[in-house]
């Protein structure tokens, strides 16, 4: 698999939604440890809205589809997650402009732009123990992947890097979002956003492999 098409993008978004809904309680429980226990609900609210009008979403292009997802997330997701995931989809939409399918370099560029957008939106840096610390190593692993035409291999490497970040960041101090208020007390806990990104990426790879 060398490229992904609009149908693949749909599958990716749909898989993200399924993960969000299946893990609603689990993600909130993770957030309850040092945060405010709303992450799972917020994310699920957003993706529930995405699924609601699923068949009627604009599918003229990858860009218009992803832009629609971004708008729905922004309209329906509370907490930090609305602006952050909304920005993620918006940046990806912009990155897909004019394209009918996406290569690994396209995807890497989209995700790099998304990371920059999230940084600008919420002021987080890499290392602040947010979902950026799953996204960034994932993209780096994809960048370092030796066979650019093996998209699935690259995705798997990215997903594994994100998964490694779950435990890899446990000992860090949270510096953004609700958990940051606890300072040193956040050491030893998992960041729910990182768990969500890793879980979604693994599920996406699995689905894409099934389809391929």
């Amino acid at each position: 698999m060398e490229k992904i098409t609009l149908e693949d993008v749909e599958l990716i978004v749909r898989t993200m939604a399924d993960v969000a809904l299946e893990n609603e309680r689990y993600f909130s429980d993770l957030d309850a440890v040092m945060g405010d226990a709303d992450f799972g609900v917020s994310l699920a609210d957003g993706f529930r809205a995405v699924l609601k009008g699923w068949d009627s979403h604009d599918r003229t292009s990858i860009t218009s589809f992803l832009m629609k997802i971004s708008t729905i997330i922004l309209a329906n997701t509370g907490g930090c997650s609305g602006p952050i995931w909304g920005t993620l989809f918006m940046r990806c939409a912009m990155g897909a402009k004019g394209k009918t399918d996406l290569t690994l370099p396209d995807i890497i560029a989209m995700l790099r732009s998304a990371i920059e957008g999230i940084k600008a939106r919420g002021g987080a840096e890499i290392g602040d123990k947010t979902l950026l610390d799953a996204l960034d190593p994932a993209v780096r692993a994809m960048e370092e992947w030796p066979a650019p035409k093996d998209l699935l291999g690259a995705f798997q490497a990215g997903a594994d890097a994100a998964t490694a970040a779950i435990e890899g960041t446990r000992g860090w101090v949270a510096r953004r979002g609700r958990q940051s208020f606890t300072g040193e007390r956040s050491v030893g806990t998992l960041d729910p956003g990182i768990v969500a990104v890793a879980t979604m990426m693994q599920a996406i790879v699995k689905k894409l492999k099934e389809r391929a």
């Binding site: 909130s28 309850a32 040092m34 945060g35 405010d36 226990a37 709303d38 609900v41 917020s42 609210d45 922004l74 309209a75 329906n76 997701t77 509370g78 907490g79 930090c80 997650s81 609305g82 602006p83 952050i84 909304g86 939106r121 919420g122 002021g123 602040d128 510096r175 953004r176 979002g177 609700r178 940051s180 208020f181 606890t182 300072g183 007390r185």
Partner: protein, 330 residues
Amino acid sequence: MKKFVNNPEDFVKEMIEGVVLANPNLKSIPEYNIVYRADMPRNDKVSIIQGSGSGHEPAHIMLVGKGMLDAACPGNVFSAPPMEYVLECTRLMKSDKGVLHLINNYQGDRMAWDMAKEMAEMEGIKVGVVVIDDDVAVTDSTFTVGRRGVAGNFFVIKAVGAAAERGASLEELVDLGKRVNSVVRSMGAALTSCTPPAKGKPIFEIGDDEIEIGVGIHGEPGRRRDKIKPADEIVNELYEAVRDDLPFKSGDRVALMINGLGGTPISELYLLYRAAALRCQADGLKIVRNYVGNYCTSLEMAGFSITLLKLDDELEDLLAAEAEIPIRVF
């Protein structure tokens, strides 16, 4: 779950229905959790709006009314509202004199309100911003979003609300709001956790003999966990942290608030007020106005916070101005 709820997902919606049923001068737009004054917007008055997570009632939907907020657009319990709620609320309250956004300093709120402001301005709406961050429990640091906004919010609303009724411009209100925020300080402590309806379980565990000093209003852990101690000692610790932060000094005229976090009976709040007032007297702070009750809560959490506001003639006058909101006695 020890709560009076129907379907937990309808919690905010049904609470808003109750507020509007009980206060015919208010209206709502259920789709965006908006509660607003039926007589607003008006082009000769700046509109003042706010909306953070729900669960802090009476903040913010029960602070909508003459001389206070013109509209509120809360999110789910403990979640900042989606950006679109804020944008719709800003559009609804659009006024020639502008719309003032009063934002409690939390990451989610900051982002949603920032985005909504950008979009509203693109539509030609004049927007001013005041960010409230009175909680001294959390150390301010360039690494984080900064201090949290808690009970001091009430004083910002009251002051800008009164000034707006008197015709102040958006710029004047922004200056005033920032000024109030710069002289108000708070800190809280909790004996119990609270249970967000959708979660159905307490947000944190706390022992039968423990107290969380510096707790956040979303159940965020505070400065530290301690053993319960006599009320006067707890007051001393919070009072000193609040006093020393500004710092408040002998001769200052102040407003003193003992704010209940939702599950603390008013008998205890007055017992705490006694201790705090005696400390103020001993330090030469002159208490000109006092507030004892639930202003900014964390659902049914048993706890309280102390807020001190430094007064001057203008602020005293604004605090004394008439206002009318859903929380009332008669």
